[in-house]
Amino acid sequence: MFNIEEFDIKLDTEFIGRNFIYCDEIDSTNTVLLNNKDFSQNGTVLLAEYQLKGRGRKDRVWISNAGQNLTFSVLLKHDLKEYNVNVINLGASLSVAQAIENLYQLNVELKWPNDVLVNKKKIAGILIESTSKANKISKLAIGIGINVNQPNFPGKFEIQPTSIRREFKELVSREKLLSEVLNNFETMVDIAHDEPTKVLNDWRNRCKMIGEKIKIIEDDKMRTGLFEDIDENGFLILKAGDKTEKIHYGDVSLR
């Protein structure tokens, strides 16, 4: 059971999580936050113990045991210029990484664009969904899944999953972790607005793939090259021979 009081005591934010909705079971926290008009306050957080239709990119699913992990979404409605949205996207993974490192002293890396890894295994994933009217983004739901106390992960995965419990060798408080992530996230959203290059630099420092030879797979297409850097939007700069290309989607792995 999630102890809302314990979470609330640790929450140190102005607006993120101040409207907090907890539910046992839901289709997808992103979908509900974007489509339900009752949840319209900027910074609303919706936490579900179990998602019936938790998902990743395209037709992938996000599987998470009920009651052991954190699956939640944050609604943002203000200052959603394109630039900020991309920085907030990378910054969300940074907020999760910092929280896990601060609380459990684990060595956390990031994989482009927003996977969170410990010992090369995936400990958290992020999927952002937004709604645009005409050419303006009006609402953004940042969906975050963190593997917290799940003991094992049967099945086949593209990247081997792990949990904080597996890496830290102890059961941990989900309430404390969620408040730490949201505290970091709100600070990051402010920095993304005022000093986006700082967020991008912090992200770079945690991505060990920059400078390495990588492959990027999307559907049946594969590109290979050197992961040179990310640009001011967070797009991956891939260098192949003397040509550079900006990549905005695809699965990245080391060659």
Binding site: V85, N89, S130, S132, A134
Partner: protein, 141 residues
Amino acid sequence: MVEQSEITEFSVQEGDLKVKISKNSHQAAQVSIQPGSEIVRQTTALPVVTPAEIKPAETAQTNLHEIKSPIVGTFYRAPAPDADPYAQVGSMVSPGTVLCIVEAMKLMNEIEADVSGKIVKILVENATPVEYNQPLFLIET
């Protein structure tokens, strides 16, 4: 300067600022500054084209509304590779109807129509890159 030259009218534009200087035979030179979005550069005594006479190509057909991309990313017409497209040429849409997704870095951005009408053209191929503000759909209103 205008007084002393043979030029009777002269207009120049930088960005949104348009300056038009004209000299009528017995009147003092007049300067008018008008905002405009047309690209007009005239430095000769050719008949001056006034802003009202210039129409950008996109508004030439007044009943067509463009839906543009709010972000740089990849354009998808369907929510998943094997799913039906959100919208087809000929589909009737209204404000709030989802038309497509533009994805950038695991940010799936659903783009909704902001007008009522009929889709008459889809300007981008599925799964291809789009730029910021690139037109995606034409809707006849």
